[in-house]
């Protein structure tokens, strides 16, 4: 194996050194498994040769971008070869007149957006990890982010893909056009497939003009129900805010006690933003949103027009993850998603589960699209806490599904949620998913052991 891989990518782009494989045994979840080797291909041809070789020899291959996944998605549970696409990081074409960008899979999100901003354009999905996350990883997990309610997720921007299929063939699928109903939408099949169907090597993305103005408001509520009402009333008012975030009282308390940010003792805080191409448009939208926020008995409302005030209002939300990461040694960060009006039930339910098991769960997230992030805080070296954390997670998944929700809004299933797939998907659907996987990947070499597909 070594000889063949070195032949394909060169000595400098191959490793089977234990110390180099150790970091590839992890992502940001608690799953740990060793790969047998890692390669850094520099071209699609090299990826193709690697996959062909792996398929002939039935060796697992795991495509990997920045490895920021929170689900074990890139952790090689069955060993095999890590294909790290970080060196395939060229922006191949930015076509403003046709509204698309064509990039290699290893391009970092922020690098793409910096290039697009020079033309007044943007690729809107903005995962928190955008400073390091690759476009290939975004596509593989169908990454979302804060602006999902208005701008959707990665799926909404994928026009076409170049994919190395598990059977060692190179496929271009999709289009360079804004519309396309030519054949099955195979490109979208690979979006959110978490590398189980092939290695994405190039991506054609729809891009948007960059909004020029934004206005921000923050509202706190003494009752979760009021915050919940404010959210779904806003989302159905005719105005779709570009941001509609919520933080629960555990999150607020943690920020209040561990930073110098002054926050009221409230059940929930909503952060919202309207954006657009003129001030008038942005203000008119915000007027509607503010009216709704006010009607639902807020404790306090603050608005910001200039950049300085805006950043101030964002401070609490931006510091949520870091503060929680600092107060606890270990955590699990989930991404359950429910229909928008069920958010208060989800939040109340999570708090109940947290109390039942004596495990702190702080919840924040993207209320505008129903996607919440319960951050379960525990100590990974305390077996009792680990066990209770698993139970908390299990109950949160059951709760989300009972509210007509989903296990994952934007992180993916990976290893962590694989056991819960049948909770959300009926046997017919599971069977079809497995048949699709088997058809494309008969030898089960592509990121095996994930999503309960094998």
């Amino acid at each position: 194996m070594i000889k063949k891989l070195v032949e394909i990518v060169g000595q400098d782009n191959f490793t089977d050194q234990l110390e180099e494989l150790v970091p590839y045994s992890y992502d940001a979840s608690m799953n740990v498994y060793r790969p047998d080797a890692a390669v850094w291909p520099e071209s699609t041809e090299q990826v193709l040769a690697i996959v062909k070789f792996a398929n002939e020899n039935k060796i697992p291959v795991i495509p990997r971008g920045a490895g920021t996944s929170l689900s074990g998605g890139v952790v090689p549970i069955k060993g095999g070869i890590i294909i790290d696409l970080s060196k395939m990081n060229k922006i191949l074409e930015v076509s403003i007149e046709n509204r698309y960008a064509h990039v290699q899979a290893g391009v970092v999100c922020d690098d793409l957006n910096r290039e697009l901003a020079r033309h007044g354009f943007i690729f809107p999905p903005d995962p928190a990890s955008s400073s390091v996350a690759t476009i290939g990883g975004n596509v593989a997990t169908n990454a979302g982010g804060i602006k999902g309610a208005k701008y959707g997720t990665t799926r909404d921007y994928v026009l076409g893909l170049q994919v190395v299929l598990p059977t060692g063939e190179l496929m271009r699928t999709g289009s360079y056009t804004m519309k396309c109903v030519s054949g099955y939408d195979l490109a979208k099949l690979f979006v959110g497939a978490e590398g189980t169907l092939g290695v994405i090597t190039e991506v054609t993305l729809k891009i948007n003009p960059l909004p020029r103005y934004a206005m921000t408001a923050v509202a706190t509520y003494a009752r979760l129900e009021d915050a919940g009402k404010a959210i779904f009333q806003t989302m159905t008012s005719g105005v779709i805010p570009s941001v509609m975030e919520i933080m629960d009282k555990v999150t607020l308390k943690s920020i209040r006690e561990n930073t110098d940010i002054a926050l009221p003792d409230a059940e929930a805080m909503i952060l919202t933003e309207t954006d657009g191409f003129t001030w008038e448009e942005v203000e008119a939208q915000m007027e509607v949103v503010l009216g709704i926020l006010k009607n639902n008995h807020p404790v306090e409302i603050k608005t910001a027009r200039d950049e300085k005030d805006r950043l101030n209002l964002w401070k609490a939300r931006k510091s949520a993850y870091a503060t929680l990461a600092r107060v606890s040694s270990s955590f699990v960060l989930d991404d359950v998603t429910v229909p928008i009006s069920r958010i208060p039930e989800l939040l109340v339910g999570i708090q109940g589960i947290s109390q039942n098991y004596g495990i702190v769960v702080a919840t924040f997230g993207h209320a505008g699209d129903g996607n919440l992030h319960p951050q379960i805080l525990y100590n990974e070296y305390d077996p009792d806490q680990v066990e209770r954390t698993h139970k908390v997670e299990k109950e949160i998944f059951h709760l989300a599904i009972s509210l007509n929700g989903t296990l994952s809004g934007e992180h993916g299933i990976g290893i962590s949620k694989a056991n819960y797939m049948t909770l959300e998907h009926d046997p017919v659907e599971m069977d079809l998913m497995r048949r699709i996987k088997k058809t494309l990947d008969p030898n089960n070499i592509m990121n095996p052991g994930k999503r309960a597909l094998d």
């Binding site: 234990l18 110390e19 150790v22 970091p23 940001a28 490895g67 790290d84 390091v132 990974e380």
Partner: protein
């Protein structure tokens, strides 16, 4: 094999605190160059985790991996979980030496001990600035003294022009760098420096090297120095300069001066006085990318170090379109000058050197025209 490293409470806490978000990938100069996860902070924190848990045996190649860090501290500044990985790297380098994994810096320590400088140079340029007594003593450090002599010459000329009453001493290496690469400061060299400096009767010690500045200021071996220590940018910030340039000027924050010592504003205050056309690079101040010279990296991995400087320099040129790149660190200066390609028109100076040049141009404008 028994685990030879003792993980103290601080280290254990940092190891579990790392959430492996990998945000450090965006700021690590070695990762930027190699794209290898072992290069950046989260990769190293994972190695430490497995060493601590006894899953990974401590081998020569694991010990080597910890040498691949410039200790630029950009990961620390950008870590959402509040971990200071470069501190862990430095501490681990010491522990690994303690466990019998000597590294290539052992030889540097011997050189410093024998020759009083990191290069093993036997002859030191006489700058002709030695006096018996003066209110200010200037300390150059090894890199300036032996690798950027012309730049130093200009810095000295500037101090003369500004009529600063200073002296210089028979300095030896501050030897602080050994602390960062697994070894310990040379106490006898520290004592020699203290005695020489104190002999001058100076009230203030001015350093041109940000690293020496930190060692004099922070290291316990220099606690009896008894002088106020200033980096030269701190010393010069309140001076009036009678020179100006219309050229487009930018500034690179040395890691040791910026993130490590918190000195961001003083050099900028000086630059604003002399260069109205001053532009910041995109990655600047707390977020400035490293030039690749720090933490022993240049000594151990010279080629990669220069490639990092090349990347940083190209980025700065692309971001700013500046004609002049200023910094105030002999190591950054040296690395950038080595990295600069001929076709790149940008001129690179230490700020003090550039000031002296402006005075020179002012007094002999014909020369400039020529």
């Amino acid at each position: 094999m028994p685990n030879q490293i003792k993980f103290d409470e601080k280290m254990r806490k940092a190891i579990v605190q790392c959430s492996r978000c990998s945000f450090c990938r965006a700021v690590c100069p070695i990762f930027d160059l190699t794209k290898r996860p072992i290069a950046n902070a989260s990769g190293k924190m994972i190695l430490l985790k497995e060493l601590m848990e006894g899953k990974l045996p401590l081998t020569e190649s694991v010990a080597q991996a910890f040498l691949r860090c410039t200790t630029c501290m950009n990961c620390t500044t950008n870590c959402p979980s509040g971990v200071d990985p470069q501190e862990m790297v430095k501490s681990m380098r010491k522990d690994m030496v303690g466990a019998g994994f000597n590294n290539l810096f052992k030889a540097m320590g011997e050189t410093i001990e024998k020759y009083g400088n990191i290069y093993g140079e036997t002859e030191r340029h006489d700058w002709g600035r030695k006096k018996e007594k003066a209110p200010y003593t200037l300390f150059l450090g090894c890199v300036g003294t032996y690798r950027e002599e012309e730049s130093v010459q200009e810095t000295l000329r500037l101090l003369d022009i500004l009529k600063v009453d200073y002296t210089m001493v028979d300095e030896v290496c501050c030897s602080g760098v050994l602390e960062d690469v697994g070894y310990s400061i040379k106490e006898d060299l520290a004592r020699r420096n203290i005695i020489e400096i104190q002999k001058t009767g100076a009230k203030t010690l001015i350093t041109t090297c940000p690293y020496c500045y930190r060692v004099f200021k922070e290291h316990p071996s220099y606690k009896d120095l008894g002088l106020e220590v200033k980096h030269i940018t701190q010393f010069l910030k309140d001076f009036d300069f009678k020179v100006k340039t219309d050229k487009k000027v930018t500034y690179h924050d040395p890691c040791d001066l910026g993130r490590h010592a918190g000195i961001y504003d003083e050099p900028r205050e000086i630059i604003r006085k002399i260069a109205p056309n001053f532009v910041e690079p995109r990655r600047t101040r707390e977020n400035a990318m490293c030039c690749g010279a720090g933490g022993g990296f240049r000594g151990a991995f010279a080629k990669e170090s220069v490639r990092i400087a090349r990347n940083r320099l190209s980025q700065i040129i692309e971001d700013t379109g500046a004609e002049i790149l200023l910094t105030e660190c002999p190591s950054c200066l040296h690395n950038f000058r080595n990295a600069k390609r001929q076709k790149q028109k940008i001129e690179i100076y230490n700020l003090t050197e550039f000031l002296a040049k402006l005075y020179q141009e002012k007094t002999s404008p014909a020369k400039e025209a020529a």
